[in-house]
Structures are given as C-alpha cells and as structure tokens.
Symmetry: C2
Subunit: 349 residues, 2 copies
C-alpha cells in the first residue's frame, strides 16, 4: 500500500453537505486507514462537524473555498470559476496533492471541470462515466453512462479497454468478459458503429475477452463483466434498471401494507427482504467513476447518505492503490486504436 | 360492435404451435364472442387439436398453408415466399377477409411481410412496434420498440401521434399524456432529433398533450401514458425493464429458498407475491402491435402460453372494433408533419 494516499473531497456537493460528506469520510477512514483527506469547502460549516470526529480530523486537512457549484449551474459557467470547492478539489489532483477527487455535486459540472483541469489521457478521445452494478451472482461494470451522447466505433472500443482494466482492478477479475450492448445477438442487428466496434474488439492485438453483443435483459444473468455502450444508451439502460428495481420493491411494499395476512408473515420474511434489498442497495454501488482522464474523478450520488458516500471514497482509494490511471496509459501505449479502426470493413447498404 | 369481426391467425408461429395458438383462441373466443377466426397453417396439425374444441371450431375457418416461417429465416427471404402461414395470414387482411392478423412467429419476418403486403399508411414514413406495459397505477404504451434503429424528428412525431391514438383506444384515456424518452429533463440534454421532435410536438395543431421529456426511471411512476423513442432506445429500455423485473423476482425466490424462517412465512406472503407477480405478468401485456400500416398486425411473444396468446388476440380485436387504423389515417389528414417540421429551429453548435 502506498504510504501517502491522499484523496481530495468536495465537502459542499450533494444534499445535506457538508454533514453527509464528513460522516461518509468517518466510515471511509475507518475502513481505509491509509487515506488522508484534503477537504474543500466552507470552513465555518465544515469545522464544527469535523470537531465531532477527532479520529477523522487527524487525517483531514481543511482548505477553505468561498463558493459552491449549485445543481442548476451550467458547465459553461462553472469552468470559469476557480473559487468553488469542486474546482479547487479537482485542482488538487492536477497539482499532485491528491490522487483522486470525490464529489457529490452537479455531474455535468464535475465532468466539465475534470476534463478542463485534468485533461483527457493522450490516446483517449473521450472520457466516460463508469459504474459498478449488481447482477445475480456478482458485479459488473457498465460504461458510458452519460458523458457522450453520440459515439463512434473508436470511442466504444476505448470504453471497452478502460472498462476491461476497471473490472480487473475494481472487481478483481483477471480476464473480464467484455460485451457491447445491442438490441439483438445477431451480427447484423443494431447500429453501424456498434458493429464496427465489434470488429475492432475481435482484434487479438487488444487482448480483450470480447464475447460479442449483449441484450439488456441478459445483463442481470451475469454473463458479462464489462458492458459497453454510448452514453445515451448506457444512461437509458441504467435508469431503466434503477426504476424497475424500485417499482418491484414498491409494489411488494404496497401489497404487504394492504394485506393483513402478509403483515402476519412479515416477521418471517423480513430477513429475506432485507437480503434482497441489500443486494440491490444503490448505496453499495455508489460512486460513478470518470475514466480516461489524467487523474481519477469520482461522482457520488447527490442524495446518498454517509454509507453511500463512503463507498464512493472506498472505490476511489482502491483504484488509486492499483494505479488505475497509469495502467490505462500503459495499456494504450501498446495499441493504436485509430490504426485498428482502419481495419474496419465498412458495410455498404 | 361490428357483426363480422374477423381476425386472421398464423397458427404455426411460436413455440408449441399450433397447440398454444389454438388454446389461446379458445380463451379469446370465450371473451370475444363477436370474433371469427381465419386460421392459416398445416391442416393436418391444426384439425386434430381444433376438433377438441367444438365451440371454437364453429367460429374458425382453417386454410391450409404448406410452409412455415422459421425463427432463423431472414426478412429478405420470407417476403419472397407467399406460401407460408404467416404470409397468407397477412394477405387475408390485405384482401379484406380479416381486419387484423396475429402471429407468434419471427418478429423481423412479420414486420417485413406486413410492410410489403399491407403497406405503410400514406402519410406515415415508418411503421412502429408498440406495446402496452404496466406502471405502478395502470398502463402506458411505449413505441418504437425496435422497428427503426435510427429515427429523425418527423418519425418520432409520427410515433407520438400514433401512440396517442393507441392510448385513447386501447387504454381508454381521453387525453393521454405524451412524453419523449430522453436522458435528462433539461431542454438541452439528449439527442438533436429528440429536441426537434419536442419542438414539433409542442405545436398546438397536433392537439397532443405533450408533457416533455421523461427519463426511464420515471416511467414506473405512471407520469406519462405514451412514451416515444427511436426503436433502438425503446428496445433497450424495454429489455432493461423486463430483465430487472425478472432479476428482483429471482433474487427473492432464491433468498426464500435459502431461508428456513422465510419458508415458514411463505403461506402468509403467497397472496402478496402472487399479486405483485400478476401486476408484472408478461402474459397480460403480450401482443406488440405494428402501427402505421393499412391494417393491424399483432406480434405475440413466441414463448407465451395460451393466456398470453389470447391477450394479443384481445388487443387486436379491441383496436379493430374502435377502427384504430382509420382513426390514424383521419388524424394524419388534418396535419402535415413534413410541413410542421419546417418550423423546427435548427440549433447551431
């Protein structure tokens, strides 16, 4: 383990900040005794809360930031203001003072400032947003979840490479099975850029276990470890999955409420329900990672609680310890994607 | 009710045909005493089963078809063979012998033959696949579910018009709330064609209650009655929803199996579980409708059972009784979509 694992934190992002952020750091610090935190935000709001947690205070350095990125702020505005807690937290990574940044603030702003300050890795055309998600027997990574609405085959292939490395590091899977999200398993279905990306990923020079297309209903079966899509499609799939999981739970709750018999049975079933709830608990999958940048930027859900925030911090720490960013850089030096894309056989319609 | 509501049925489509198809017609005939069926397929296989159901036999006319469309057949092949049960069943609608066709066969083939034989309604550029789905308080219609991988703004606006009429007819909602599926509620998010379609749908000449964008996780809340997307996005959302619903149910089942206590509680909870299962039961939402054609073509799930097949037939009958196809035609005569699209303010990036 590295001696000096510093993570920079935007203390002012998300609902109920800085309280939830600091309480999240309390949990994260206990689980990761090797981390030191650089905490950016309003000192007057941070210090009274931090004083309640002496153990955390010892591994925290607070740096005052006058301003805050609000949820309604546009990316074009926020990149011009260097005095926000978010901007300063990201800049700490750029300066080498921290190795990753975590924020529960505005996603668009975090991506815009991260791109501007940290810059995209030289051989990557577009950074992507990745999350770790649950399937029936374990976890998988999915990207892009919304950074890039439209993508070409090279972008998709880059996402596959980065997702492959992420699954190796964060999920500890030696040879992740990588799939492209599509609407049919057949070779000819779906969009042209997806078919072209499939051709690129089959190339043995990439050293990726590419298993072909995956349809969204197969995702929960755990047949793939890395699922690659453009940001629009990935976001649609992610939000459909989240919404449906919540719907089923809500329908169950409502049905139990309306049934006297079910209420009697509840004590027997509580354990089972909690177990399923835990498997699907969004807090345990909190922390969307921005990959493809010279530094790691992690977005916590704005509405999460202390446990959720600590998971995002834990993910960031794990990837830093494993030198995730430099692994991506090294991997990409071995292969020229633009060159690979020359091999695509363009189909004529 | 019309006196002579004839529905044409491809008896050979789907798993376990023609048995499941005929058993489905038994249920449908009981619930819809006004329907007569034209049944296409292999007489030698159909008649022995049909003989078991004298009541159904009275309202059925069997027409022999030598050949069958197989699941692996490509659309380009099947449109050339007029001797399949699917082709003949669709042709009966074209000839005016039936007012709708139902098949559990190959989706691509059914769409290709339906387009070729029935033709697209004059003012519609592209037919779409629609399904009725459950949300927490009722049902909604979603289209396109896969007929058109890429769509422009005019296509999306056409889907909205057809979906609006379908919700009025099939769900009996007077003024359906129509929404465009997108990845953010903000005006600027998502793809250009979606933003352009939003501009068109705001036009008062369309007389649509357009409520703006909807994100996939909001769908189960029941905030919209018609959800419009291109066929790729719609298919991704549909399959994500189906897969997740099954995952949650599977996790619950597995957890119950592993817990002695939960097994004790099962008798109390069974009612609740069955209720939720029924709300989500895919059989009750079976029957994807191809809309935008001069005639109604309904695709039943290939793996459904008799109950599921009867739901698809019932949906077809309901839309025929309400003159769904001519309503679309009339509605489109009032408004020129290509003309409307001239009003789009193209954004400069």
């Amino acid at each position: 383990m590295s001696e000096n694992l510093v993570i920079s934190v935007d203390a002012m992002g998300g609902d109920n900040s800085p309280r939830v952020v600091i309480e999240g750091l309390v949990i994260a610090a206990k689980q990761n005794p090797d981390i030191n935190f650089l905490l950016f935000g309003n000192q007057e709001k941070i210090n009274p809360i931090l004083n309640l947690y002496p153990a955390l205070k010892k591994v925290c350095e607070v740096r005052h930031a006058d301003e805050v990125v609000r949820n309604e702020d546009k990316p074009s505005q926020v990149i011009r203001n260097r005095n926000t807690s978010m901007y300063m937290a990201i800049e700490a990574v750029k300066k080498g003072e921290a190795r990753a940044v975590v924020s529960a603030g505005n996603t668009g702003a975090l991506m815009a400032i991260s791109k501007l300050v940290l810059k995209t890795i030289q051989k990557i055309h577009r950074p992507a947003i990745v999350s770790i998600m649950p399937h029936q027997n374990g976890k998988y990574v999915m990207l892009d979840l919304g950074a890039n609405t439209e993508c070409n085959a090279v972008n998709l292939a880059e996402f596959a490479i980065m997702g492959n490395i992420l699954a190796q590091h964060a999920l500890e899977i030696k040879k992740p099975r990588v799939a492209l999200l599509n609407i049919g398993a057949e070779e000819m279905k779906g969009k042209e850029e997806i078919r072209q990306a499939a051709q690129m990923l089959k190339n043995s020079r990439l050293n990726i276990d590419f298993i072909g297309y995956i349809e969204p209903h197969e995702i929960p079966n755990g047949v793939a470890d890395v699922i690659v899509a453009d940001g629009f499609t990935g976001n649609i799939a992610l939000k459909s999955i989240e919404g449906t999981a919540r719907l089923v739970v809500r329908l169950l709750k409502r049905a139990v409420k309306e049934s006297f018999l079910a209420k009697l049975g509840l004590p027997f079933m509580l354990g089972v329900m909690l177990k399923v709830k835990k498997t699907m608990d969004p807090r345990l999958y909190n922390g969307a990672m921005f990959v493809g940048l010279n530094g790691l930027s992690v977005k916590s859900h704005g509405g999460t609680d202390a446990l959720g925030f600590s998971v995002a911090v834990g993910n960031a720490a794990k990837l830093v310890r494993q030198n995730f960013v430099s692994t991506i850089r090294n991997e990409l030096e071995q292969v020229d994607l633009d060159d690979l894309s020359q091999d695509i056989i363009y189909e004529v319609y």
